[in-house]
């Protein structure tokens, strides 16, 4: 399985390098602007970094799906489906690689922000001042008050949702290439089905969450159950996709 994952990483390594280089250049610009005491330009660099991060997050998710689509539809599928490994291992490797790439991209973000923090610390030698500066940027750029606990919760929820979006996408593509025969309406149907499943899963989740809050279950426990719920859905989608590949896929 590790070997399968190794090749999954190889397929998508280039985009991570590009993201890292772009963010690296912006960090450099941020550093220079700080040295030159041009705080406004430094804030612009930081704003640009957040923008690149958001676009890259979307791209990384889409890239996993595009690569999976190629693995199902083009001749390159032979490379994957001729190897003597079960569909559960092949898809498992793909999904773990996709999740790790999300982690890896987030790690690039954390390193980027860490570097910015270090640059700022080197200049002011004051964490409190740095956090105030960050709050200021958020207030000025996004007109919002910053709460770091809330930031952590938002980031973890984003990660869970990000993983769910990718795994649901993999399931939809598998369905499109197995059960739904490749007709004129196949792509449209798979998009409709994707949206429907997304909506249904979110609705059930919201119902469970509301129920837990009504039952006076603490916020932390409710959040943990929320994460478990998405994990269960992800595993169910994985099993369904691997089963479809095993029984129905022709490449």
């Amino acid at each position: 399985m590790l070997k399968l994952m190794k090749y999954e990483f190889r397929k998508q390594m280039f985009s991570k390098m590009v993201i890292a280089i772009i963010l690296g250049v912006l960090v450099g610009y941020f550093a220079v602007m700080n040295i030159m005491d041009k705080e406004q330009n430094a804030a612009v660099a930081l704003g640009l970094m957040f923008f690149v991060m958001m676009v890259a997050a979307f791209y990384v998710s889409m890239e996993s799906l595009v690569v999976y689509g190629k693995d199902l539809k083009t001749k390159q599928s032979y490379m994957l489906f001729l190897v003597p490994q079960s569909s559960y291992k092949i898809l498992g490797a793909k999904m773990i690689a996709a999740v790790l790439q999300i982690f890896f991209t987030m790690a690039i973000y954390i390193v980027t922000l860490g570097l910015c923090g270090m640059i700022y610390l080197m200049k002011y030698s004051n964490i409190k001042q740095m956090l105030e500066f960050l709050k200021e940027i958020f207030e000025v750029s996004f007109d919002m008050q910053i709460d770091f606990w809330l930031v952590f919760k938002v980031l973890s929820s984003m990660f869970i949702l990000w993983v769910f979006i990718v795994i649901l996408g993999i399931f939809a593509e598998t369905l499109m290439n197995t059960v739904l025969t490749r007709g004129k309406l196949t792509s449209f149907l798979s998009v409709v089905m994707y949206i429907f499943i997304f909506w249904a899963v979110a609705r059930v989740e919201s119902g469970i969450y509301d129920g837990m809050i009504a039952a006076n279950i603490s916020n932390a426990v409710a959040n943990a159950i929320d994460i478990i719920y998405y994990l269960v859905v992800d595993v169910a989608l994985y099993i369904a996709s691997a089963w479809l590949i095993d029984k129905k896929l022709s490449v």
Binding site: Q76, Y78, M79, F81, L82, P84, S86, T181, G183, K248
Partner: protein, 228 residues
């Protein structure tokens, strides 16, 4: 070694394989003959596990097609299929990573014989070079069953002899080779058995020598008679 019963494959409203039932025996070289679109590729892909039959069964050594059969069966498609980021060298590493029967030394030797360069990127290779790389990677496996889909396609006349020799070198009492082709005359001398496929059905199937004797015709002449 391999038994197919009433194989059928339907894509939407097109029937690629209508009804094929045959048995492949150990140590023989089979020619799978038929024009383009006759169902040869789909049939091979079903044996290699890439395509699921709509109907019928395939048993390899008494087991359905799956992980175990993929360990023993080496399929070479007619089109290039390597990842575009790969080099000739990394194709070998990929095969070594996934196929226990892959012989690295044999691969290096075959790459040399095919006049390929280990550092060349696969997406920069000409169609002829690409075809040679497919052959080298597939034949470097010590597989029990080789399925070669149009192995001479895109190969120049000079190199064809080398390819045929490479294929014959893999032939042994333990291994079976199935070659799909429409270049019948180049393979007539080396094949043991023949399967003629027409419109997704096997129309003639058996020992090549017996067929020649019974029909009083060479395989090439029969080919022209059936598909002409």
């Amino acid at each position: 070694m391999l038994e197919c019963s009433n194989l059928k494959k339907v894509y939407l409203n097109k029937t690629a394989v209508e009804d094929i039932s045959l048995t492949l025996e150990k140590g023989r070289i089979y020619a799978l003959l038929g024009p383009n679109g006759s169902g040869k590729t789909t049939f091979m892909k079903m044996i290699s596990g890439l395509v699921k039959p709509t109907h019928g069964t395939i048993e390899y050594e008494g087991m359905p097609i799956g992980v175990q059969s993929k360990k023993d069966i080496a399929y070479m498609s007619t089109e290039p299929f390597f990842y575009s980021f790969m080099t000739v060298e990394s194709v070998g590493k990929y095969y070594k990573d996934f196929f226990e029967d892959f012989d690295e030394d044999k691969y290096v030797k075959l790459i040399g014989e095919m006049e390929l360069n280990m550092k060349d990127k696969v997406n920069k290779l000409s169609s002829g070079m690409s075809a040679k790389l497919k052959i080298a990677a597939t034949m470097a496996r010590n597989a029990k069953l080789y399925l070669l889909d149009e192995p001479l396609n895109g190969i120049d006349i000079i190199a064809r002899e080398k390819i045929i020799t490479t294929i014959l070198n893999a032939a042994s009492d333990d291994s079976t080779i199935v070659i799909s082709t429409h270049l019948v005359d180049e393979l007539e001398a080396v094949i043991d058995s023949v399967v003629f496929i027409k419109d997704g059905k096997s129309v003639i199937y058996g020992d090549a020598e017996q067929i020649r004797e019974q029909r009083g015709k060479s395989i090439v002449e029969l080919y022209k008679e059936i598909y002409g």
